[in-house]
Amino acid sequence: MRNLKKNVISACVAAVTMGGTAVAQAADSVNVAFFLEWATPNQIAKVDKTYDEAMGVDVKWTNFSTGVQMTEAMLAGDIDIAYSQGLAPFVTAIQQGAPIKMVSVAVIYEANDCFVNNGLGINSSNASELEGKTVAVPLNTMADFAFRKYMQVLNVDTSTMKIVDQAPADGAVSLAEGSVDMACIFGGDSAKKAGEVGTPIMSSQQKRDAGIGSFDVVSVTEKFATANPGLLRTFLEVTHEANANWKGNAEQVNKVAADAGMDYATTKNQMSGFIFPTAAEQKEQFFGPDGVAVAAAESLGLVFKRPGAWNVDQKIAKVITGEYLD
C-alpha cells in the first residue's frame, strides 16, 4: 500500500515536471501540419529531407483532415507551422482570437465549383432560376465562400434557397440522386462524381473574370514566429525553392503522388490546377500594400460574420505579414 502511494506520488511529480518542461523545450524539432491528397512540390523537399538539412532541425510532418483541426493543434502547442491551411479556417481562427498568423501563400487554385444538376438546364445566364431551389454546401469552408461569391456575382438571392449542410462526398451523392439541385464541392474525387451529373455554374474563365479564386496559406503560431524567425524564413525559402524546381516530370509527380497518397493521374490532374507563386510575386501581389491576402481574408471574414462578434477594424490585416518571405 505504501509503495503504491509512493509510486502514485512520484508519477504525479513526474507528470507535473514533464508538463512544465514541455513548454520550455528549445526548438530542436519543428512540427509541421499538412494535408494528405493535396499534392504540392514541397513534398519532394519533405521526402528528401531538404527541410531538415536546410533548417538544421528535425522537421516532423503530421497530416490533418481539416484546417480547423490544424488550428486546434497549433493552440495546443503540438504544431508550429500549418502548411496549406485553408483561408476559411484561418480567418475563423483569427475571429476566435487564436494567436496565429499568415506568413505566406501556399497554393492558389481555382475556386471550388458549384455543380448544377444537368436536368435543370440552369447555367450562369439564367442563374436566377436557382432561387427557391435546394443547395448542398459544406458550411464554413472555402466551397461555402465560393458559393456565396457566385450567387453575389450572378445576382441570386440566397435567402430564398434551401441550404443544406453536407460534406462534399454526401453532396455529390445527393446531387446524383436528385434530392439537391446544386451541390458545392471540394476535393478531387467528389468533384469528379458531381461532374458526372452536373455542370459548374461558372466556368473557369468566368470565375477568373469575376475575380473569384481561392488560396491556401502557410500559418504559424505567434510564439514560433517570434522565437525562431530564422527557421521560419528557411522553411519558406526551401518551400519556394521546391516550387521553383518543379518541372512536373514523371519522377517528380511519382514522388509527390506517393507522399500525398494518390495515384499518378489524380496527382497530375490536381496539380495542373495549382499555381505556386514565388516569394517575389507574393510580396508584390499578396502582401504588399492593398495586397490580395488581406482583401480576401477581410471579405471572407464578412461572409462568415457572426452577428456582433467581429469588429471590422482591419484587425485581420495585422496577422497577415510577408516579412518572413525574404
Partner: protein, 642 residues
C-alpha cells in the same frame, strides 16, 4: 432587462456563485441531518433508501456548477473583473521581451548560441564526411574543405569572448542598462501611472470582442503597458546586434570569395549530370551553413551571462510587481493563462474551450430569441417557437401524387380561348400537392422541435415494431431463429456507417434521418422485449395454462406484464442513444436541428455554441428520462418488489 444582465455579467455571476456555495453547504448539512434521522429505520440494500433525496441532487448540481464556474474562469471574472486586463498588460511585457528570452537560456534549457553552435558544428562534420570526391578536382576539394574549416573557425571566433568587438560590447551594455531601468521602474511603488480615459471606456472582460480589453484600465496595468513598449524597443535593438569582430569579417569575406569561385569552377566529370547535380547540392549545403553563421548571431556564453541576469532580474521583478495579482492568477486561473498575440489578449487553456456558464446562458438566450429577423435563432430558424401550419401540408404528405393519376378521367386542358379549365382531378392533384387552402393549425417550430420530432417518430416506430417482434422472438422458435441473424448482424454497425446508403435511398428529407434513428431504437427495443419475454417465470405460465388460459391470454396477461420492466428500460436506453445518434443523423444533410447547430459550430470552433447544444441535448435527454421514470412508477409499481 437581458441587456442589463449581460452588461453586468460579473456581478450577476458573483451573486450566483455565492448562492451556489450557500446551497452547497446548506444541502450537505440538511442531507446529513436527514440521513441521521432515518439511518436506524432502514436496512442497507433496501430500495426504499434511494427514494427522495432532492437535497443531494441540489448538492450535486451546485458542485457541478461551481466546478464549471471555477475552471471556466467564471469565478475569476466575477470577483476580479480587472484581473484579466492586468494580466494582459503583463503578457504584453512578456511578449515584448520574448525575442530576447528565446535567444537566452530562459524559455529553454540552452541558449540559442549554444544550440546554433552545436547544431551547425555537427552538420559541418557530417558534411565533411560525405564529400563527393569525384565531383571536385583535388584543388576544388581542398577549397571546399577550407570553406568548411573557415566556417568552423568562424563559429569558434564568435564563441570566444576575446574576439567580441568593443562596439558590440557597448551595444549590449546599453541594452542591459535599459533592462536595469525597467527593473527599477518595476521596483518603485506605483506612482505616476494612470489609465487613459479611452481605456476606461472599453467594454469590460467578456462583454464584446475582443474578449479582454487591450488598453490598461488600472494603474498597475498602465505601468506594465508602458514598460512593455520600452522592452519592445530594446528587443528590436537586441536583434540588430551582430557579433562580427574584424577577424570574423575578414574570414567571412574570404570565405564568400572562395564559395563564389567554387560555384564558377567546373567539376572534372562535367559530362555526368548526376555528378554535376551532386556537386551543386553539396555546395548549396555548404553555403547554407555558412550563411547561417555569417549573420553573427552566436555570442560567447560569458558575454551573454550578464544579459541573461539582467533579463531574469527584470522578469523576476515583473512577477513581484504583480503583488496580489499573483495569488489571483494562481488561484482563479487554473490550467492556462492570458496570452497576448499580435492584435489581442485571449484566454488560453480551459478559459478558452470551457465557456463561462453566464456566457453560455447568454448565447442560449440569443438563440432562443424567436425574432429571427433581428439576429435571433440560428441560420434563419428559431430554437423553439410556433408557427401556423397549413393543414393542406399534412394532407399532402398523406396522399401520394401518383394516387391521383389513378382516378378516372383526364386532367384539365387549355380551351380554345387559351384559358385553363380545371376539373375535379386538377383540384384533387392540388390537394395532394398541398396547394388547396384547408385552414391552419398552430404547430411547434424550430431546431429543438425538429430534432425532437425526429427522435419521437423514430422512437414511436421503434417501439411499435420492435416490441411485438421482440416478444414473439422470446416465445416462438420460428421468430427467434428467423430474425435473430438479421438483427444481430446489423445491430453492432455504427449508425454513421449507414449514412451514405441512407442518403442514397431516402434523400435529404427527414425520412432518412428518422430511419437512421429508428434503426438504433428498433434493435434496442427488440432485444429488451425479447429478454423480458423469455424471462417470464415458467411457473406463472404453467399456472395460467393449467387454469385454462388461451395462448393469447398467456401472452397478454402473463408474458407482457412480465416483460414490461425490460421494455421500459429499453425505451429509456434507446431514447438516450437516439439523442446520441442525432448529431450523426443531422450530419447527413443538415438544415435544422440541434445536431446541425453542433455540426456547424464545430467547423468554426465556436465553443459557446457547442456547449449550448451539448446542454440542450443533455437536458432534453434528462427530461425524457425523468418522464420515463414517472411512467415506469405508474405502469409497473410492482417492479423490484416481487
Amino acid at each position: 432587462m437581458l441587456e442589463w444582465l449581460s452588461d453586468n455579467r460579473a456581478v450577476v455571476a458573483a451573486i450566483i456563485i455565492l448562492l451556489l456555495v450557500g446551497s452547497f453547504f446548506a444541502s450537505i448539512i440538511y442531507g446529513i441531518k436527514q440521513t441521521r434521522l432515518r439511518e436506524k429505520d432502514q436496512v442497507f440494500g433496501d430500495p426504499e433508501r434511494t427514494v427522495g433525496g432532492w437535497f443531494w441532487a441540489v448538492c450535486g448540481v451546485s458542485t457541478l456548477l461551481l466546478v464549471w464556474f471555477y475552471f471556466s474562469w467564471g469565478s475569476a471574472r466575477a470577483f476580479f473583473p480587472q484581473a484579466a486586463n492586468e494580466l494582459c498588460q503583463v503578457a504584453k511585457l512578456h511578449e515584448a521581451v520574448s525575442p530576447v528570452t528565446s535567444s537566452l537560456a530562459i524559455d529553454s534549457r540552452y541558449s540559442k548560441s549554444k544550440t546554433l553552435l552545436v547544431r551547425n558544428s555537427r552538420q559541418l562534420a557530417e558534411l565533411r564526411d560525405r564529400l563527393p570526391v569525384n565531383a571536385f578536382s583535388p584543388a576544388d576539394a581542398a577549397l571546399v574543405t577550407g570553406v568548411m574549416q573557415n566556417t568552423q573557425q568562424l563559429i569558434s571566433i564568435m564563441a570566444t569572448p576575446d574576439f567580441v568587438g568593443a562596439a558590440t560590447i557597448a551595444e549590449l551594455e546599453k541594452i542591459k542598462a535599459g533592462y536595469a531601468a525597467i527593473t527599477n521602474e518595476l521596483a518603485k511603488p506605483r506612482q505616476g501611472w494612470s489609465p487613459d480615459p479611452a481605456a476606461l471606456a472599453q467594454p469590460s472582460w467578456g462583454i464584446s470582442e475582443p474578449e479582454i480589453p487591450l488598453l490598461p484600465i488600472s494603474a498597475r496595468g498602465a505601468m506594465y503597458d508602458a514598460l512593455a513598449v520600452e522592452a519592445a524597443s530594446l528587443s528590436e535593438d537586441f536583434l540588430k546586434i551582430r557579433n562580427l569582430s574584424p577577424a570574423a569579417k575578414d574570414l567571412i569575406s574570404e570565405t564568400k570569395a572562395t564559395i563564389a569561385a567554387l560555384k564558377k569552377s567546373q567539376s572534372p566529370n562535367e559530362s555526368d549530370p548526376a555528378i554535376v547535380k551532386d556537386r551543386a547540392d553539396y555546395l548549396k549545403s555548404v553555403d547554407r551553413i555558412f550563411k547561417r553563421i555569417d549573420d553573427g548571431t552566436i555570442f560567447p556564453a560569458v558575454v551573454m551571462a550578464d544579459m541573461q541576469l539582467a533579463v531574469e532580474a527584470m522578469l523576476d521583478r515583473a512577477e513581484k510587481a504583480k503583488g496580489g495579482l499573483r495569488y489571483v492568477e494562481a488561484l482563479f486561473f487554473p490550467g492556462g493563462d492570458i496570452v497576448k498575440s499580435r492584435t489581442q489578449c485571449t484566454e488560453q487553456g480551459p478559459g478558452r474551450w470551457l465557456p463561462k456558464p453566464t456566457d453560455v446562458v447568454a448565447t442560449f438566450f440569443g438563440l432562443a430569441n424567436p425574432d429571427v429577423e433581428n439576429g435571433g435563432g440560428y441560420k434563419g430558424t428559431t430554437l423553439l417557437w410556433w408557427k401556423w401550419l397549413p393543414i393542406s401540408d399534412v394532407v399532402s404528405i398523406l396522399i401520394p401524387d401518383s394516387l391521383i393519376d389513378l382516378l378516372p378521367g383526364d386532367y384539365g386542358q387549355l380551351n380554345d380561348k387559351g384559358e385553363f379549365e380545371a376539373n375535379y382531378k386538377d383540384w384533387m392533384l392540388g390537394l395532394a400537392q398541398g396547394d388547396v387552402y384547408l385552414g391552419v393549425v398552430p404547430m411547434l417550430d424550430g431546431h429543438i422541435w425538429d430534432s425532437l420530432f425526429r427522435v419521437l417518430v423514430a422512437m414511436f416506430f421503434g417501439v411499435l415494431l420492435g416490441v411485438p417482434l421482440g416478444i414473439y422472438m422470446g416465445v416462438s422458435r420460428f421468430y427467434k431463429s428467423f430474425f435473430d441473424p438479421m438483427i444481430e448482424l446489423y445491430r453492432p454497425v455504427p449508425p454513421l456507417a449507414w449514412a451514405p446508403l441512407i442518403l442514397t435511398i431516402f434523400g435529404i428529407q427527414d425520412d432518412g434521418k428518422i430511419f437512421l434513428l429508428f434503426m438504433v431504437a428498433f434493435a434496442i427495443m427488440v432485444i429488451s422485449a425479447r429478454t423480458g419475454a423469455s424471462g417470464a417465470q415458467l411457473s406463472k405460465i404453467r399456472a395460467s395454462h393449467s387454469l385454462g388460459a388461451s395462448d393469447r391470454q398467456i401472452l397478454r396477461y402473463v408474458i407482457l406484464p412480465n416483460a414490461l420492466p425490460e421494455i421500459m428500460t429499453g425505451i429509456r436506453i434507446s431514447i438516450g442513444v437516439c439523442w446520441g445518434t442525432l448529431v450523426a443523423a443531422e450530419m447527413l444533410a443538415g438544415t435544422t436541428g440541434v445536431g446541425f447547430i453542433e455540426n456547424v459550430a464545430r467547423t468554426v470552433s465556436d465553443y459557446e455554441l457547442i456547449w449550448v447544444t451539448i446542454l440542450i441535448m443533455g437536458s432534453l435527454g434528462l427530461a425524457f428520462d425523468l418522464m420515463m421514470r414517472w411512467v415506469i412508477s405508474q405502469l409497473i409499481p410492482w417492479r423490484g418488489k416481487g
